[in-house]
Symmetry: C2
Subunit: 227 residues, 2 copies
């Protein structure tokens, strides 16, 4: 695929399109217009067409998109069809939650190994993924193709582990540690999972609702006083 | 605060501004222009000014923003200054990870209680938060102000628990279950945590890097063949 520089905001919307298309497919929808997609996602049709146009021509004016074909194209844009392999480092609460509940394969990824320092975990297997000792990590990285590391270690070791990873050729980290792993100009690709962004969005909508209720109550009181 | 309908995309950017402002404050930066903010966040200055203008007048043309004041205004827009209380339901891996590692208070929230069905957990306390039996949840909801529920229960009970919550007046759910909790027209405010969006963004950047490398290699090979 030919790549042009695409803005981060466009890239961030692509996974949302993918999820929505999966949902449409599950519901047996075969064709969708940018207008319908926009309504489902709270975006304007022109925004959606503009986003897709960053990656070439999809769909047909006045006809819409074939859901399955668009799904495939977006998955391909996102690299979800490249069979990327991921390694989990840190089988604590969050690492364990990912192994138990996050279906890497449904997004085209395979979780091939996990590493921890806990002797009680080393040598065990969760959902078909072996847990190895951290001592074996360097050797593993040298002998296996690892496209990305899922980092879920405790805060205090996040930086030293990252330094070890980059020294051993790891180029991409999915970061659950809430620590800034690398310098701003680092060549390592880091994707941070920010729970706070999500919580604050929720908080916004709760506040909006409360303000609406308060405004309604104030109007009702005013109306009553005026009677 | 007067509220106008603001697009979801603007709302989604506000927590990112907040995080960046926190970082600037930590680094002792007092004033920031929309140009500088834009560079830090990969947004255009006009986008940033437009986002802020949804909520009134901040900053001053040619002078920029006072970091601490802007931080306070955005926190207020997001409701992070309202002392919202949250209750966690489900102290499994993900729930435990949130109790251990996610600092609710640094975003203005307080986690006031947790609930689980596991007798080994009931009656214990993690980081000052008591874990109660699910049997006591209904009573708790009636006797306490609960602004939002953090839902981290297993998939198979996600819907029944949600129905129970909404029947007991819960209006907002932070959803870690990967299950669609409510019908599209439901009045319950649900914020889903989609790990997949984050992973797929990472995957995009990894793919971009790989394609660039492949293109460089192809050019180098061509140059060599032409010698």
């Amino acid at each position: 695929m030919k790549r042009v520089k695409v803005s981060n905001n466009v890239i961030r919307r692509m996974p949302r399109y993918l999820r929505m298309l999966d949902e449409l497919m599950e519901n047996g929808v075969n064709r969708v217009s940018s207008f319908q997609l926009g309504q489902l996602l709270g975006l304007t049709p022109s925004q959606i067409r503009q986003d897709f146009s960053c990656f070439g021509e999809f769909g047909q004016q006045g006809y819409g998109y074939i859901v399955s074909a668009l799904r495939e194209q977006i998955a391909s844009i996102l690299g979800a069809d490249r069979g990327y392999s991921a390694v989990l480092i840190g089988v604590g609460n969050i690492g364990r939650a990912l192994m138990d509940n996050f279906c890497f394969s449904s997004w085209g990824f395979s979780l091939v190994a996990a590493f921890d320092v806990n002797p009680a975990l080393i040598g065990t297997n969760i959902n078909g993924v072996n847990i190895y000792s951290m001592d074996d990590l360097e050797t593993y990285l040298h002998n296996n193709k690892v496209d990305m590391v899922v980092l879920a270690v405790p805060k205090d070791v996040a930086i030293p582990v990252t330094n070890m990873l980059t020294a051993n050729g790891v180029e991409a980290i999915w970061n659950f540690t809430n620590v800034d792993l690398t310098a701003p100009n680092s060549s390592t690709i880091v994707e941070n999972v920010h729970f706070s962004d999500s919580l604050l969005s929720l908080s916004y909508y709760v506040s909006e609702r409360q303000d609406e209720k308060a405004a309604r109550a104030a109007r009702a009181e005013k109306a009553e006083n005026n009677q």
